[in-house]
Symmetry: C2
Subunit: 153 residues, 2 copies
C-alpha cells in the first residue's frame, strides 16, 4: 500500500498499452456521445475526421482505467476534486494502442486535514506511433501514512 | 441546423433531467474506474464517501450525453479541442437526477480557418436538491453558416 508520502515531485511512471476496438468506440459513443463521427464508419467518412474516432470522454475514461489499474489501485487514493488543461490533440482510431505517462508535478499536504494530501499529476496519453493524443493535469487526494494508529483510508 | 453564428455570449440553456441508477454507476466503474467506492455498497460504506458514488468520469460523460442530445445534436459541431476547470464538487449517488446548465461564455471566429469558430461553454451540473455537483469550461468548434455555397460540416 502506497501513501501520500511515497510520491515525490518528478516521479514518472508509464502504464499500458490498452488497445481500443471499433466495438468499444461505438458502444461508448452510443451511450455517452452519439455524434456521427463516433458512431459508424459510413457517417464518420464524411466528417472532418475522415473516419471513425473515439469520443474524447472515452479516451479520458480509458486513461483513467489504466491509472486505476496500475497506479491508484495499490494506494490510499481518496478520489479527485478535479482537473485542468484536458486537451484532445489527435484523434484516437480503432486499433490504436494507448499508453499513459504519469508525472508527479507537486505533492501538497492538506492544511486543514492532517490525514491527507493532494498530488498534482501530469498525464500524457500516446498511441502506437508515439503521438501524444491527450494530456491533462489532474488533482488526486491521498491518505497519509498512518503514524502507528488507525489506517487513514 | 444551428451554426456558429447562432450562438451569442450570455446565451443560457438547461438540459435534463437524467436519473443515474445504481446499475449504471457500477457498470461504468467496472469498465473505467474500479475503485471500491464506485463498485459496491458494502465497500463504499467504509470509504470517505459513506456509500456508493458515481465515478467523476461517469458524471462528466452523462453531462456530455445531455449536451449532445439536446444542444449539440442539431448543430454544426466539429468536436472539442479540450476543456479546463473540471471540478467534482459533490458526490453523485444512485437515484440522483442531473440537469445541465450551459452558458455561452465567448464565441471566437477562427483566424486560420474561415469555415469555423470556437465557443467557450460554462457547464454546471446540478442534482435534484439543486446542489452543483460538477462544473467545467469546455471549448467546442462549430461550422459557420454556409454563404450560399457548400455546407461547412
Amino acid at each position: 500500500m502506497r501513501y501520500f508520502e511515497d510520491f515525490q515531485p518528478g516521479d514518472v511512471s508509464e502504464h499500458g498499452p490498452l488497445v481500443v476496438s471499433r466495438e468499444d468506440i461505438i458502444a461508448f459513443a452510443t451511450q455517452f456521445d452519439p455524434q456521427p463521427f463516433h458512431l459508424s464508419d459510413e457517417a464518420a467518412r464524411d466528417s472532418i475526421f475522415g473516419g471513425l474516432v473515439a469520443s474524447g470522454w472515452h479516451t479520458a475514461s480509458l486513461c483513467h482505467r489504466l491509472l486505476v489499474q496500475s497506479f491508484l489501485g495499490q494506494t490510499a487514493s481518496l478520489g479527485s476534486p478535479g482537473l485542468d488543461e484536458l486537451r484532445w490533440l489527435k484523434p484516437v482510431r480503432p486499433g490504436d494502442a494507448l499508453r499513459v505517462r504519469v508525472e508527479v508535478v507537486s505533492a501538497t499536504p492538506s492544511r486543514s486535514k492532517p490525514d491527507r494530501g493532494a498530488l498534482k499529476l501530469r498525464m500524457e496519453v500516446r498511441n502506437q506511433k508515439d503521438e501524444v493524443v491527450m494530456t491533462e493535469l489532474a488533482n488526486v487526494l491521498f491518505g497519509r501514512r498512518p503514524q502507528g494508529g488507525a489506517p487513514t483510508a
